[in-house]
């Protein structure tokens, strides 16, 4: 790893407007469904209307007679695709199971499964014709309710070695709390509809504009599915209209669009409807059971966390909800176990902070209930069981400033003015409640390669296959490149999300920021080395004796670190070497440090106001204090955490995918009936980044921010609702019927 440039930090750490801002406010930013071309054919999907069974007969005759319809593809007439599970397994596919293959055969595995693709000259014609495709089914029994499969769920995660005896310690504990919590199925609902435009060109590669968080994942997947060579398919996705995990795995529309383009030998666009997006992956409905045993002084003796999540019948997707509970707080006895129930639904998938948004909701709700039982302030309880070490691995952290999150968050919120008893605070007719929760996520780093092409006029193009799904990757890479190359940010151009660019995995898990930025630094180091090598050859070079560690790039010059007026301009070096451009590519390298745990943390403080008569809950104030190492761009970082808090408020109060378990079908599959927060739902949100120096994790001392902002938010809201009303709602979302109903019952 090259050392980062330490002399000129003009951009890194400074609030910087998005470099893609102008494209986004003028409509110039193009998303997957925005690429137009002459001769484009449009697709429309026909979905299954049963949860399980087989297609006995499918009749596209009437649809095909609609003028303008080009073709109707079903399992009966589809082009050849690969027939091994291996070919269909993308980078994010679960190890076990058989990935879904659209239009593969007559089996119906879930409601809203695509069963036909209509292709037409215009989208409206395709949509109309899709309504004319007639289907007969042979239905089979199905189950879509996790509670009906709770006892059959399969264990997928548990510790290799048990820590103490949690059951025994719980039974003997001075104070106990035990309860079930429930998070319903949630859908990501990014604003952009899932879309693919597949550009067909005779003799050329198929260029696929796809809504995805990982162009190379999709490219390799398509090559496998359609048995193509790598140079025959190119996947591009310069802008992604939100994804939140929904775009980690290739979705079925990309398969169908490519299938259509190959069959018609013509460019095809397929945009799913909002309703059809409920046939994609989702945050799994999860039942969580927490059992906490404590001493009267608030130290924990026993933590048990068991969860049952959901997946399809054909793939075993899960994220461990329960490990967080054993990791976060000091307790001599701890046990966790995550199980998964197979239902007749699509495979579940990652949704922002998968496993933690849900698991930590349950843990932090239970901790609040324990604080009530102990008659202890909730912040104080967390300080009593504070752990300086990862409790699962028994490792110290590269950095952990969660204590400062509690302190700074509480101070900004005014927590010391909280009256501990429920229903003790009012604002006119509204009951006021203050709740808090902790958050935790991983600080992962993955291999990413970056190419830099610098020209003699002091411009640099930085290229990488990574995606920017709205997280600000373009901007922080430009900041780091500008600093590492000693150039103004305006002279940096970032190219992302093209499968032909240097390799990067999917953007997710909060790993891309640190990974991509250190790939920029590593590659900039190569550019600097090349410049030094050339500069030393110059006659009378002031850097003749310099070694690599001595020099840095600053203000368009290669200069001595100790004596910044001693140097040569980049343009002089390149002119002297008769070079028009220097091009380097390198992959980041992180120290292999198995002796430390790497995590981000947060403390979330929430104020709710509850209308006592109507039960309406409003979140009026949130303070989120985050410890995530060094913050590269306070402006976009604040937005990212703020947006995650909004997502957490949605999770707490609004979001729920509702099934009719008798039909095995989602009944609120649009964005009017599936509620997400709107502007009027959101009030003051303050984001604090506590100072968390980290000399161990990476040279910049940075950690990712994509997930940490949502973790703990739902619990903090639920805890605030309890504090306001005295009503403990343990199944999300906290809707007014639950607030009112239980209050009357109490």
């Amino acid at each position: 790893m090259s050392t980062p440039n330490n002399t000129a930090k003009a951009y890194t750490g400074t609030p910087t407007s998005r470099v893609d801002g102008r494209a986004k406010v003028t409509g110039a930013a193009k998303y997957a469904g925005d690429f137009n071309a002459g001769g484009l054919a449009y697709g429309a999907v026909v979905e299954a209307t049963i949860a399980r069974g087989r297609i006995a007969r499918i009749d596209a005759g009437e649809a095909l007679r609609v003028p303008g319809v080009l073709d109707v593809i079903t399992h009966e007439n589809r082009p050849r695709v690969a027939d091994s599970d291996e070919a269909w397994r993308d980078d994010l596919a679960p190890e076990d199971g058989s990935p879904f293959r659209p239009l593969y055969d007559d089996a119906v595995k879930f409601n809203q499964q695509p069963i036909a693709l209509v292709l037409a000259e215009e989208w409206e014609i395709a949509r109309y014709a899709a309504s004319l495709v007639r289907v007969d089914y042979e239905k089979q029994p199905f189950v879509t309710d996790v509670y009906r499969r709770r006892d059959d769920a399969i264990v997928v995660e548990k510790p290799d070695k048990l820590r103490g005896d949690a059951a025994k310690a719980f039974a003997a504990a001075e104070v106990r709390h035990e309860a079930d919590y429930f998070i319903p199925t949630e859908h990501h609902n990014p604003m952009e509809l899932f879309a693919t435009t597949a550009m067909w060109e005779a003799g050329g590669p198929l260029t696929v504009y796809d809504k995805t968080q990982g162009v190379q994942n999709v490219q390799q997947f398509l090559c496998g599915v359609f048995e193509k060579k790598p140079n025959e398919i190119r996947v591009i996705s310069p802008y992604v209209g939100g994804a939140f995990g929904a775009g980690l795995r290739p979705q079925y529309q990309v398969v169908l669009a490519v299938m259509g383009a190959l069959k018609l030998q013509r460019s095809v666009r397929l945009v799913l409807t909002r309703q059809q997006m409920y046939g994609l992956g989702y945050r799994p409905a999860t039942i969580e059971r927490l059992a906490l045993g404590a001493r009267r002084d608030g130290t924990l003796d026993a933590i048990t966390h068991e969860a049952v999540g959901t997946t399809s019948q054909f793939e075993e997707f899960s994220r461990n909800d329960t490990g967080w509970s054993a990791l976060l707080y000091a307790s001599p006895n701890a046990r966790y176990e995550h199980r998964v129930a197979h239902l007749d639904v699509p495979t579940s998938c990652d949704m922002r902070a998968p496993g933690a948004a849900t698991g930590v909701y349950a843990l932090e709700s239970a901790m609040d209930e324990l604080a009530v039982a102990l008659k202890m302030d909730p912040v104080e309880l967390r300080l009593r069981c504070y752990s300086e070490r990862d409790q699962n691995e028994d490792l110290p952290y590269t950095s952990k400033r969660l204590r400062e999150c509690y302190r700074e968050g509480a101070a900004a919120f005014g927590w010391d003015r909280r009256k501990p008893e429920p229903r003790a605070m009012r604002d006119g007719k509204a009951l006021v409640g203050w709740g808090m929760a902790s958050g935790v996520w991983e600080a992962l780093q993955v291999p990413v390669a970056v190419r830099i092409a610098m020209t003699a006029n002091g411009h640099a193009e930085v290229s990488c296959a990574a995606s920017d799904i709205g997280t600000g990757t373009y901007t922080i890479m430009a900041q780091v490149a500008a600093d590492s190359l000693g150039l103004p940010i305006e002279n940096i151009t970032i190219h992302l999300a093209d499968s032909t660019l240097p390799s990067a995995p999917v953007e997710g898990g909060s790993w891309m920021a640190a990974s991509a930025c250190h790939a920029v630094i590593a590659t900039a180091g190569e550019v600097r080395s090349e410049l030094l090598r050339r500069a030393k050859l110059m006659k009378g070079s002031p850097l003749a004796d310099a070694v690599e560690e001595d020099v840095t790039l600053s203000d368009g010059k290669l200069v001595s670190r100790r004596q910044t007026d001693r140097g040569v301009s980049i343009s002089d070096i390149m002119r002297h070497a008769a070079m028009e451009r220097i091009e380097k590519e390198k992959t980041n390298e992180f120290a292999q440090d198995k002796a430390h745990a790497r995590n981000t943390h947060s403390a979330v403080f929430v104020e709710v106001k509850v209308d006592e008569e109507l039960g309406v809950v409003r979140v009026t104030r949130v303070v989120s204090a985050v410890a995530a190492g060094r913050v590269l761009n306070p402006k976009t970082a604040r937005s990212q955490v703020m947006g995650a808090v909004v997502g957490g408020i949605g999770m707490a109060l609004h979001e729920e995918t509702i099934y009719d378990h008798g039909l095995g079908r989602i009944i609120n599959h649009d964005i009017a009936e599936y509620h997400v927060p709107v502007n009027a739902d959101i009030h003051d949100i303050e984001v604090i980044f506590v100072d968390e120096p980290d000399a161990l994790i990476n040279p910049l001392g940075m950690k990712g921010l994509g997930e940490i902002g949502i973790v703990g938010v739902a619990a903090a809201v639920a805890n605030a609702v309890y504090h306001a009303t005295g009503v403990r709602v343990r199944d999300l979302p906290i809707t007014l019927d639950k607030v009112l109903g239980r209050r009357q019952a109490a």
């Binding site: 003028t26 409509g27 137009n36 209307t49 014709a129 007639r134 089914y137 990014p190 509809l193 703020m642």
Partner: protein, 171 residues
């Protein structure tokens, strides 16, 4: 069809004739022919190559397709192109004049009022419409009158700040 009925001989209804429509889009007269079932949104995107206006639901639920028609903000997915013959339509592509951003576009950049950017054209057109309506005075009123435009990235507080800046109000 779930009743098991098969219609092997059925013929679909014939398609209607295309209709000629004239719109003044971003100050330029555009004449085109579309089937009468084409929404204004799809006419802009698929027939006039103005893809800055986004489709997020096609049902008037999300606001991503908001444009200004004769100065008023509407969901372009809820109106047919043929119903707007002769209308003046302003899309996100038409807000900047000679390369200079509209004050609200600049305010969105200044306040980081977006992340993924997909709802942004609709938010900005809606905000321009709101400012022209002149009825939002307070932050709460802005929140209320901007609630037809969903932002899943959760940029709402920054959107309110950006609109306040463009309104010339104190943040």
């Amino acid at each position: 069809m779930q009743d098991g009925a098969v219609h092997p001989g059925a013929s679909p209804s014939p398609l209607p004739e295309k209709v000629s429509v004239t719109l003044i889009v971003n100050g330029i007269e555009r004449r085109f022919s579309v089937l009468p079932w084409v929404s204004l949104l799809d006419a802009l995107r698929d027939h006039l190559d103005l893809t800055g206006t986004k489709k997020g639901c096609d049902h008037g639920q999300c606001g991503a397709c908001t444009v200004l028609v004769d100065g008023r903000r509407i969901n372009s997915c809820l109106t047919l192109a043929v119903m707007r013959d002769g209308a003046h339509v302003t899309t996100i592509e038409g807000l900047a004049a000679n390369g200079a951003l509209d004050p609200l576009q600049q305010a969105f950049i200044d306040h980081d009022a977006f992340q993924c950017g997909y709802c942004t054209p609709g938010q900005i057109c809606s905000g321009v419409g709101l400012i022209a309506e002149g009825r939002a005075k307070t932050a709460d009123e802005i929140r209320e009158f901007m609630s037809g435009n969903i932002c899943r990235c959760g940029a709402y507080p920054n959107i309110v700040s950006a609109i306040q800046q463009a309104m010339g109000a104190k943040p």
